[in-house]
């Protein structure tokens, strides 16, 4: 029996990035002979992301590209729930559709997962050949500082808590989403903390994070406030 991987791509205004990411996923998974499907969850992007997705569906076929759009912007956590419902794979890969995560890492995730039958594989910018591109000193400082504080307070035994390039066994992801309470991008951090709490095994693979090629990067004051709140919440409850 060959295993199947469902890749969830939540999108919002990614019409430039979406065709490229789909092309790259196809390129790297096809040569590795990996069975996959891409589930595109578009939250009513006004820029025409859905039209782009429809073109891709015609090119790559309805068995490879599944369009599961939603009417309006409803957030990342619910996008995953929505996507999982339609996923037919044994494993779920979640990644950003903005090209900051490179699909070439997916075969590495899969290889790592099979080594020790891990429940979760997470990409890490902080280990081995991993890293970032296009970040200035301030951005690196904020990232390393936030990571240091979260390591100190939560001791998650995962080097990159806020990364969102991961592979999950499908039932594990379902269980984790059910357990997590936070919204937005801090949800990624809670997923790892809960995974440890539930004694799931987690493997790490180095990834390179290339900052957004098209569109705006999102790190503002409100993200930092959200992060601190989530950190304190997890610190006091887990």
């Amino acid at each position: 029996m060959t295993l199947k991987y469902s890749i969830l791509l939540p999108t919002y205004n990614e019409k430039d990035n979406l065709p490229v990411i789909v092309y790259l996923i196809h390129k790297y998974l096809e040569i590795s002979e990996i069975k996959y499907e891409i589930i595109i969850i578009d939250d009513g992007s006004p820029d025409g992301t859905l039209e782009v997705a429809k073109q891709l569906e015609t090119i790559y076929g309805k068995d490879k590209i599944l369009l599961r759009p939603r009417g309006k912007k409803l957030g990342l956590g619910t996008a995953y729930i929505h996507g999982i419902k339609h996923a037919t794979g044994d494993f779920i890969v979640i990644m950003d559709a903005d090209l900051s995560h490179h699909p070439k890492s997916i075969p590495e995730f899969i290889k790592k997962q099979t080594e020790q039958d891990y429940d979760v594989i997470t990409g890490s910018r902080y280990i081995g050949n991993g890293g970032v591109s296009g970040w200035d000193f301030k951005r690196k400082l904020v990232s390393c500082g936030a990571n240091f504080i979260s390591q100190l307070l939560l001791r998650p035994k995962v080097s990159d808590l806020t990364g969102s390039f991961r592979l999950y066994k499908k039932p594990v992801l379902e269980k984790l989403i059910e357990t997590c309470v936070s919204k937005g991008y801090v949800f990624q951090m809670e997923m790892m903390v809960r995974a440890r709490q539930l004694n799931y095994t987690i493997g790490e693979v180095p990834i390179t994070f290339v900052d957004r090629v098209y569109g705006e990067s999102k790190l503002g004051g409100s993200e930092i406030v959200q992060f601190v709140k989530a950190l304190l919440y997890l610190f006091a409850t887990t």
């Binding site: 790259l24 296009g134 307070l153 997890l234 610190f235 887990t238």
Partner: protein, 89 residues
């Protein structure tokens, strides 16, 4: 026990140790230093943390080649997709 309780527990032990030093070593010639142990520890902790963070920032891989490779692949993708009938606007 959650992480907060673990920290409170640990800090309590340290406080008890420090108080017992304060009470029993008042004639010690280093009493002046003993008084300020919490502040000294806090400063050491801050400096060490800052050192670790700055070291990690400087050691943070800057993947310029990954960015260049991606740019090449974006071009490749656009050519390949156009051949397959994809319309970019």
């Amino acid at each position: 026990m959650n992480k907060l309780s673990q920290w409170i527990f640990g800090l309590n032990i340290l406080c008890v140790l420090w108080f017992s030093l304060l009470i029993h070593q008042y004639d010690n010639e280093y009493f002046f230093i003993i008084q300020f142990i919490p502040i000294i520890l806090l400063i050491v902790f801050g400096v060490v943390s800052l050192g670790i963070i700055l070291y990690r920032v400087s050691a943070f891989n800057d993947c310029k080649s990954a960015a260049l490779e991606l740019q090449m692949e974006i071009k490749e993708a656009k050519i390949a997709l156009t051949e397959k009938g994809f319309k970019f606007d």
